[in-house]
């Protein structure tokens, strides 16, 4: 099989890889680039655990071919913290105990960050709709939404 040579940017760094045509961006992030924050919950776009942004747009990386990322800008959960300094969203998720097993958390973080970049002052309903594609099997959504709303308030104040 002819592998495809892809040059792209991940979290601001130039990256190159070889992929099969049918391989997903999620596969390459996890298996080749060792960025294992994005998780494969379903592989069919339903759970959001694989959320990343592609040119700033929130997408499911399980439904993006690795080949499609060529020349684009990919951002993953690994790029959210600034070194050892956690992002406000990460701090708030911890503070509000908005995770249990943590499988959904990277996707929630990427999705919530995209929300607050677009809508710094969302209503709770807006936040719930925005995150409707991020399923959590353990925590339930109230703590997650509380953490996101609290982070939004703090980020507006900062």
């Amino acid at each position: 099989m002819n592998k495809i040579h892809v040059t792209t940017t991940v979290n601001g760094d130039p990256v190159e890889y070889l992929c099969e045509p049918q391989e997903t961006l999620l596969d390459v992030l996890r298996n080749q680039l060792r960025l294992t924050g994005a998780k494969e919950g379903c592989g069919t776009g339903d759970c959001g655990a694989c959320s990343v942004t592609l040119n700033g747009r929130l997408v499911c990386s399980c439904l993006v071919l690795a080949a499609e990322a060529g020349g684009q800008e990919v951002a993953t959960v690994e790029g959210i913290a600034d070194g050892d300094n956690l992002h406000i969203l990460q701090k708030k998720i911890l503070e509000h105990a908005a995770l249990q097993c943590g499988v959904c958390t990277p996707g929630i973080l990427v999705a919530a960050k995209a929300l607050l970049e677009k809508h710094p002052d969302p209503t709770e309903v807006e936040a719930r709709y925005w995150l409707a594609g991020n399923l959590c099997r353990c925590t339930g959504y109230d703590k997650i939404i509380t953490a996101v709303m609290d982070a939004a308030a703090e980020m507006r104040g900062a």
């Binding site: 045509p21 776009g45 592609l54 997408v59 439904l63 409707a132 594609g133 991020n134």
Partner: protein, 285 residues
Amino acid sequence: MQYAAPKSVQDAVELLAGEAGVAHVLAGGTDVLVQMKMGMVEPDLLVDIKHITRLKDITAEAGGFRIGAAVSGAELGEHAGVGTLWPGVVEAVELIGSTQVQGRATMAGNLCNASPAGDSVPAMAAAGAVARIAGPDGTRDCLVADIPTAPGRTSLGNGEFITSIFLPARPENASDAYLRFIPRTEMDIAVASAAVSLEFDTEGKCSAATVILGAVGPTILNVNADCLLGTTLDDAALEALAAACSATAIPIDDKRGTAEFRKDVVGVLAKRAAKIAQTRAGVTS
């Protein structure tokens, strides 16, 4: 399988027409990549149309808008002009999937996937939308309503693909709306849906009505909505519309809803969508 990302419509047509095996356009991939994973389709070639720059454009044309086949739902939703002219079409597109799915899904993909429950299809059809198709024999235009022919089937020929969808101009005192029924409040497939596009005269009487149903037949269904004409959408006219919708629907029975329920609820959706379209048109009864 091969992946190709042509830079021009011509190159895309040649790739699609030249493939001896199964070739699929890759737009947002939110249907075709899922179907590949489930083994429902096994393409020999995927032609990614997102590198053809003009397919990413929304352009004003003849009082309406031409929407490129690679424009995502999120991009369409952010365009103020289209949402003002055809709010029902934009609300239908925005119902597709989650924020993540919106970042990728296209209207043309929703249409060409040809699911009877595709949300944007009834709304586009009610708007009189026209698909522009490129193919080995050149370019042609076709009503969106004539693209799906059966579940998973379209009228597109070998090597043909949609390059844009045109939403026409509309007169004053006119608007549209789309409603669907789903068991959840987000992220679900329509059990029944209705798109309504209405025009009113200066006295507030309905002068043109197009009503299209989704998910209650193998393709979208056109309802004869003459019962609304000359009325201000009084209760009798709306009851007649609901009855016409229920009579037109030919739904299946499945775990998501019985045929009887679908026939009933599709009439309720049409009535409510008609009232929303009337309010949007700025007409008060």
